[in-house]
């Protein structure tokens, strides 16, 4: 069974290209969300294996959403941003996310490596 993914980002162009790439590389993209509130609702409804979560959301902070999602048996959260991980210091590590992938470097293989 393919790994199910929820993509959360407020930029439609990233959601579309990420969906295309991940589906092409064998993932099943089960949903998309445009902000933190929708991400929490959709994650609860769809119970994906992975949430690919943008750090800079319009409503909630990505790290905040991560700590809410990642607790007790929730999905694995992989943070993404067009900025680099070190721009955020140790926030990504401390948030409880499985890992961080810079947007331009997103690929099925990178995602798989973090989930393994």
């Amino acid at each position: 069974m393919p790994i199910s993914v929820l993509i959360v980002d407020d930029h439609p162009s990233f959601r579309a290209s990420a969906r295309m790439l991940l589906e092409c590389e064998g993932y099943e993209v089960v949903g998309e969300a445009v902000d933190g509130a929708q991400a929490l609702a959709e994650a609860a409804r769809l119970t994906p294996d992975v949430v690919l979560l943008d750090v800079g959301l319009p409503d909630l902070d990505g790290f905040e959403v991560t700590s809410r999602l990642a607790g007790n048996g929730g999905p694995a959260v992989v943070l993404t941003s067009s900025r680099e991980c070190c721009d955020y210091g140790s926030l990504a590590e401390r948030s409880g996310a499985r890992g961080f992938i810079t947007k331009a470097e997103l690929s099925g293989a990178r995602l798989g490596a973090l989930l393994a």
Binding site: F14, M20, G56, S82, R83, D87, G89, A104
Partner: protein, 583 residues
């Protein structure tokens, strides 16, 4: 002579007679125990009150205070009629016997404005008038004046000879009198704390004498109630009379001390101004000359159509009708400054402050120029601050546009390229390699764009504050950086940004020139300042005057009224310290 003056002279003449009548009667009286005492105090107290009362009346005709004081004097003289042997005159004196105290309490509570203020004052005065009129008349109607074997004439208006009732009324008068005295003391004390310093100076002698007198009267009443007699009672009576005699003089002292002589004030001021006062001393000189510690100066800036203080800060003049009054000072036909002062200053001499202001016009004009310069500097500082803030906002917007626009599109393009490559599956005539090359170029472009955006504005700082931004700086630095204390709360944006740039620039220098093995960063908030320190263990010898980096930092920190210092002896590392004011 005005009609007021004529009336006052007539009253003065009447007062002379009013004091002389009981004095004359004293020598012929055949029922007087302490003749000498009455001969001295009777007219002395009466005349003292009448004379000072008329003086106060003449100086401040609109103030009822003088009239009240005169009334005390006349009532006192009238109460002296009890020494007469003629029953009608004697009983008139007895009926008016306690009225002086009614007027006295009224007067004490009406000082200095001549009106009663507050419910307690009105209640106390109402009670004392009830005691000294209604109850006094009731007592006379039931008191047999011949009973006590004092040789007094008989009571011609005795309605009902009831010694018990008469004693009861006297007791009630004494008890209620104590209540009045208590109320009086409370009210006088309260008044002393509710006035300006200038008024207090005039109030102190009056209130002090009033309170001591009230205490002596209270002792007299207690002696009456407890039936103390003999030398103790006499001593208390004499003490009370002495104090009563002092009251008008205390009021005179109070009235005189609030008066400032115009010639004296101007003379004083001119002497002081000859010593070329420093900034701020001009106000002190005027305050001292006028005897008004609360005096304030406001300088007029015609260009900006506004008032400022000596430091150039904007001030507003008080509303008219308040307890503060304003005198405008002009020089060569243009407004220079305004003097804001305690309104009671002008009561005696409305032209006093204007005269003092004219004498100080040149000095005021000089200080006005000084204040104008300061206001300009302040304005410049504020506008430099605004320029920085606007610049900061613009750069922030630019960074956000890059991030949300071009960067997102390029990122999507990179992902799409990668997708295309993974769909080719090898049968592609080298297209896969081409796509990979394009992808690598694109990644470089994205990474360069990211650096550019970060250089324009540190988004992490504005999004997440200094701790996260410093951690990010430390994480990117090739030289290990130890970030020490950083205030967890957000600082004002310009302060935060200046601190960030100081640290960022200092760390860049560490990497470029210091040959250090590590660097330290500390940010401490202390006493309204943010102190930033970046240190390293490198070669030292940095010169802040060379190179644009540190120079730019000095400007940036200076715009926020902060300071930047670099300590960098050769071989002993470098320390960059910035101190930025922060509300």
């Amino acid at each position: 002579m005005t009609s007021l003056r004529r009336a006052l002279w007539l009253l003065a003449a009447a007062g002379l007679v009013a004091g002389a009548v009981p004095l004359a009667l004293t020598f012929g009286s055949d029922h007087l125990e302490v003749r000498a005492l009455n001969a001295v105090f009777g007219p002395l107290i009466g005349w003292a009150f009448i004379a000072t009362g008329l003086f106060a009346w003449w100086r401040r005709p609109e103030n009822r205070f003088g009239a009240l004081m005169t009334a005390v004097g006349f009532a006192w003289c009238a109460s002296g009629l009890t020494v007469a042997d003629e029953p009608g005159v004697f009983i008139a004196g007895l009926l008016l016997g306690t009225l002086p105290y009614g007027f006295l309490v009224h007067m004490l509570l009406a000082f200095p404005r001549g009106v009663l203020e507050g419910r307690l004052a009105i209640a106390v005065v109402a009670l004392i008038y009830f005691l000294t009129t209604v109850m006094q008349v009731a007592w006379v109607l039931v008191y047999d004046t011949t009973r006590e074997d004092c040789g007094c004439p008989p009571n011609p208006i005795l309605l009902w000879d009831q010694q018990g009732v008469a004693d009861l009324i006297t007791g009630a008068q004494s008890a209620l009198g104590l209540l009045v005295i208590a109320g009086l003391i409370v009210e006088l004390y309260r008044r002393l704390h509710g006035v300006s310093r200038l008024q207090r100076r005039g109030l102190v002698p009056v209130i002090f004498t009033g309170v001591v007198l009230a205490a002596a009267l209270a002792l007299t009443l207690v002696a009456d109630l407890t039936g103390v007699s003999g030398p103790v009672e006499d001593a208390i009576d004499i003490a009370g009379l002495c104090l009563l005699a002092m009251v008008p003089f205390a009021f005179l002292a109070g009235l005189l001390s609030t008066r400032v002589s115009r010639a004296g004030a101007v003379g004083d001021l001119v002497t002081r101004l000859a010593d070329a006062p420093e900034r701020g001393e001009l106000r002190d000189a005027l305050a001292e000359a006028l005897g008004d510690e609360s005096l304030m100066l406001a300088y007029w800036l015609p260009d900006s159509d506004a008032y400022v203080d000596a430091r150039g800060q904007p001030v507003t003049l008080p509303q008219t009708g308040s307890s503060r009054a304003v005198s405008h000072v002009e020089r060569e036909g243009r407004r220079v400054a305004s003097i804001v002062y305690d309104a009671t200053l002008a009561e005696d001499d409305p032209g006093l402050v204007d005269a003092v202001g004219s004498a100080a016009a040149l000095a005021l004009d000089n200080e006005r120029l000084d204040a104008e310069l300061r206001a300009r500097v302040e304005e410049l500082r504020a506008s430099r601050m605004r320029v920085i803030e606007v610049g900061m906002e613009e750069r922030r917007g630019l960074e956000r546009n890059l991030h949300d626009g071009a960067q997102q599109r390029l990122v999507s393009l990179a992902i799409t390229l990668r997708t295309a490559r993974s769909r080719l599956n090898g049968n592609d005539d080298g297209a896969s390699e081409l796509l990979e090359g394009a992808g690598q170029e694109l990644d470089l472009a994205i990474s360069e764009l990211r650096e550019l955006a970060r250089g324009i504005h540190p988004a992490v700082l504005s999004d997440r504050g200094l701790p996260a931004a410093l951690e990010s700086l430390a994480a990117r630095s090739p030289v290990p950086v130890e970030v020490g204390a950083v205030p967890p709360d957000r600082l004002p944006k310009p302060v935060e940004l200046a601190a960030y740039y100081v640290i960022s620039e200092a760390l860049t220098n560490v990497v470029r020139y210091a040959r250090a093995t590590y660097a330290t960063v500390d940010v401490v908030r202390n006493d309204g300042h943010v102190l930033v320190e970046v240190g390293d263990d490198g070669v030292g010898g940095a010169d802040p005057e060379r190179g644009t980096g540190l120079r730019g930092l000095k400007d940036r920190v200076g715009a926020l009224e902060g300071s930047l210092a670099v300590e960098s002896e050769p071989g002993r590392g470098t320390r960059v310290r910035a101190s930025i004011p922060c509300g």
